[in-house]
């Protein structure tokens, strides 16, 4: 049952291709800009992916249960030097206005939108992950660097508006962002864990920072802005083997200034453990008397600061090539900030009818590596639009999968008066 709930939740909330304008919309638009008289669009997406974490390993962290040794070792075996993981969840409601003109132009109008989102990512080296997940038994005689360990998570709300072109849905808009929470943990060099060859000395060097906003509160802990924009243009519209819809876009490009209640906790120290002195035990000390524990060496300094942090924005391009009346070929590239990799996508769309699309794509990048995506779009009665999509279909079926995502888009396209008549 819980598995079913998880699947449904991913279907409801999203994918990484969230917020790109539907191809069906583009094909249904026309050069008059009067194909629709406004659209109410609701989108939700969620994704979680990694270059190394498998669903088998992550599942117990979501649903509870035991993380088996085979799951951990399987992940380690398949892991390269540095592993990246992350995820996001977003919902957005946008209304495209249906007025006759804006600024004297009948082709333009406004849109307004509200949204809420969370994203997070992290990275860890193979050895550090091996140490944390399996212990130090396999690392005797070596020093495992821990400075690869970094993680970040942010949550925000947004409200904004923009201008769009009714013919192509090209748009540009700005949103005010209300920062809800920001957490960032980083270990710096020389953070490491050392186990001597015969395990008679353990040494933990830990140097790093934990940056976090104040406790979440309704009116937020930071204020900022973000920009969304998309430019769609078409060549040889309606002609097989010639028509190409191209998209250049920017999404969620913005920054948040987290307020002065935010705190930076710094730590930099070393804890060395060689065991208890036997003479102390003979003198009547208990095992821990006379020794300084880790807590004694953990010296932190903290200060309240206000700081800027970027949102998880991206730039993307997409092309849809009309192969024939029922088949489209797609290619896309989306660029993210580190630690996410660029996401390259190649795909095919099959349109059994002019209001229905089934798509399949292969992509590589973002939080994970190779994946096989699938989606369907359906415009019912030229008015109700539904879109379902996942960037990695095997994520729902195979325990070795490293990414799982889903998106749902539900829209209502208001008809023009003429069309209604």
């Amino acid at each position: 049952m819980r598995k079913l709930i998880l699947v449904i939740s991913f279907i409801v909330f999203g994918s990484e291709s969230f917020a790109q304008t539907s191809y069906l919309w583009l094909t249904k638009s026309d050069s008059t800009g009067k194909a629709f008289r406004g659209i109410l669009d609701i989108q939700g997406s969620a994704s979680a992916g990694s270059t190394f974490l498998t669903k088998e390993l992550v599942k117990p962290f979501v649903l509870g249960g035991t993380v088996t040794a085979s799951a951990r070792n399987s992940v380690l075996d398949g892991m390269k030097d540095l592993g990246v993981f992350g995820g996001n969840a977003n919902v957005r409601v946008r209304y495209y206005g249906g007025r006759d003109s804006l600024f004297g132009s009948e082709m333009l109008d406004l849109y307004i939108q509200v949204g809420k989102g969370y994203f997070g990512s992290g990275r860890i080296s193979k050895d550090a992950f091996g140490l944390i997940s399996n212990g130090n038994a396999n690392y005797q005689g070596s020093r495992v660097p821990l400075n690869s360990i970094q993680g970040e998570m942010q949550g925000f709300q947004s409200i904004g508006f923009g201008v769009y072109d009714k013919r192509t849905f090209s748009s540009i808009g700005i949103s005010m962002v209300n920062g809800l929470t920001c957490q960032q943990f980083s270990l710096f060099p020389p953070s490491s864990f050392y186990t001597s060859a015969n395990a008679d000395t353990l040494q933990l060097d830990y140097s790093g920072e934990y940056v976090h906003s104040a406790a979440a509160r309704p009116n937020g802990n930071g204020i900022g802005f973000s920009i969304d924009g998309e430019y769609n243009f078409v060549r040889d519209r309606g002609i097989d083997k010639k028509e190409v819809w191209n998209t250049l876009g920017v999404r969620n490009l913005g920054w948040v200034n987290w307020n002065g209640q935010s705190e930076v906790v710094s730590f930099d120290s070393t804890f060395t453990w060689t065991g208890v002195d036997l003479n102390a035990i003979l003198n009547g000390d208990s095992l821990l008397n006379g020794t300084s524990g880790f807590a004694d060496t953990l010296i932190t300094t903290s200060r309240n600061v206000s700081f800027w942090r970027p949102l998880r924005g991206s730039f993307y391009v997409r092309s849809v090539y009309r192969w024939n009346e029922k088949v489209r070929l797609t290619a896309g590239l989306e660029m993210f900030a580190a630690p996410m990799k660029p996401l390259a996508t190649l795909g095919i769309m099959y349109m059994p009818k002019s209001n229905c699309i089934a798509s399949l794509n292969v992509s590589n990048g973002a939080y994970g590596n190779w994946k096989l995506g699938m989606g369907v779009q359906w415009l019912i009665a030229n008015q109700f639009y539904f879109g379902f999509q996942t960037s990695n279909l095997p994520g729902y079926f195979f325990k070795e999968a490293k990414e799982i995502s889903a998106s749902l888009q539900v829209s209502y396209l208001f008809k023009t008066k003429k069309e209604r008549q």
């Binding site: 997940s133 212990g135 038994a137 395990a199 002195d277």
Partner: protein
Amino acid sequence: MHSKIYLCLFANIVLLSSCKKEEATTWESNWVAPLAHGRLTLSDLTADNGYADNAGIYHLYFEKIISGFGTSDLTQIPDTNISQKFVVPLSGGPFQIPGNTAIITQNQNYSVETNGTGLRMVKVKSGQMIVHVKSYVNAYLHPSFTLYNVSEIYGNNTDIDFALTPGSAAAPTEGYYTVDMSNKYVVLSGTTGFDYNKLSTHLEIRTEQNTTADQNTIFGQDSVRFELLMSDLIIDYAKGYFGNDSYSFDESFNLAEGANMPTGSLALEQASLGFHVTHKMGFDGKLKIENVSGSNNAIGNTVQLSGGNLYAPFFITRSIDNGGNASVSNYDILLNEGNSSITNFMGNLPNTISFQGNLELNPFGNVSDGNDFFYENQLTEAKLIVDVPLRIAASELTLRDTISVEITTDAARVSSLTLDIQNAFPIEWKLNLSTLSGVFIAASLLVPNGNSVDALALPTSSTLQIPISEAQWNAIKAEGEIVIQVVSNTPSFPQLVNLYNSYFIDIRVKAGVILNAEVQ
């Protein structure tokens, strides 16, 4: 169509809101960590109860005060309440007595309890004396009470004055005065100067100086009552005659505190035992040791020490008081393998030594004419001294001890112990581990003897691996105790080997730990 869409959305919201993690996330990881390390020498193993001789051979050395002869054993002044009524030496009445007229004057020696000894003088360390006066006389009275030779300066007096308003038989008037007796000399030789336990006092009761005759109406046989309460007096110094009593000793003590003596065969050479008396008190005595025996509780064997002049009575001569410093006289009885059964006695590996004897005070009577003395901080004590040079031969010498292991967490389980050992002792050890109820953990783990040559320590290396299964761990956790048994053997028993101060054993203990991480 619309209704289906709404239904789907509603269903999703309900399902998501119920999506909670119902059990913790857990995983096991394998860690290795050092537990303990150190170099143990003979000094460490014997809790510094030893020393190295000129040849470097280590000696076990114990000094134990088996009897301290305390001041309370000799004498003390218990809490005492002395009460006396003084009567106006008149008959009839009423009499109108003018002011400043003496109506009662009296010297008085009060007897002081001293637990059977005769004291002539004490210096009090702490305590107090309370003087309580109660007047039944209808007059303004001024009683003056003098404690002769009671003062911080030897020979001075302590004067106490009261002022009492008129009293009656039904409603007497009272006065109190508390004398702090700390550091005060108290002469107890009475008014003659030759008595024992007599506190000399003087009492004078006059009518108050500034009163008139009509204010002081006295009848014959009117009385005034005095009470003298001595409370919590601790004697710092005493002089007198301490009597001719006998005091018995019956002491029992551990040879080494907390040590768990081994079983098996142990041969020792050149052990010695000394009985040393330091006498610093001003009385003669006759001391007789009745019995010294050692018991090995593990095997239930008791061996009496015999030989030499151990059980012959001997006299101790009184100390001389040199103005606050008592002279010291020492008496020794030395037993060794040549004149006693000390080798057998120590070879029994006694946990406990029992000692019985008695001390007779002043066997020749009051030869000091009441000048016995003691200072509270200079007392007579008897000490037992054991010196065992560690020239030993051991055969299956077994030390068994139980250590407490309190494990309160389920987060970690020890899966193995590894002991890296460097042994320079010419002794082979076998280690056995079990729980108190007998659950086997490890047996016959061998630590070979070192190759040391005389005082040159040459260790051998060995590694002991002790895997601990989950069942064994659970047993340790449940019982909370581990029994460690160490069996020792020297090469070519009963050939003796010397244990030098330079010998050592280096131990490093490492643990394999399975950590059960849990994330809620």
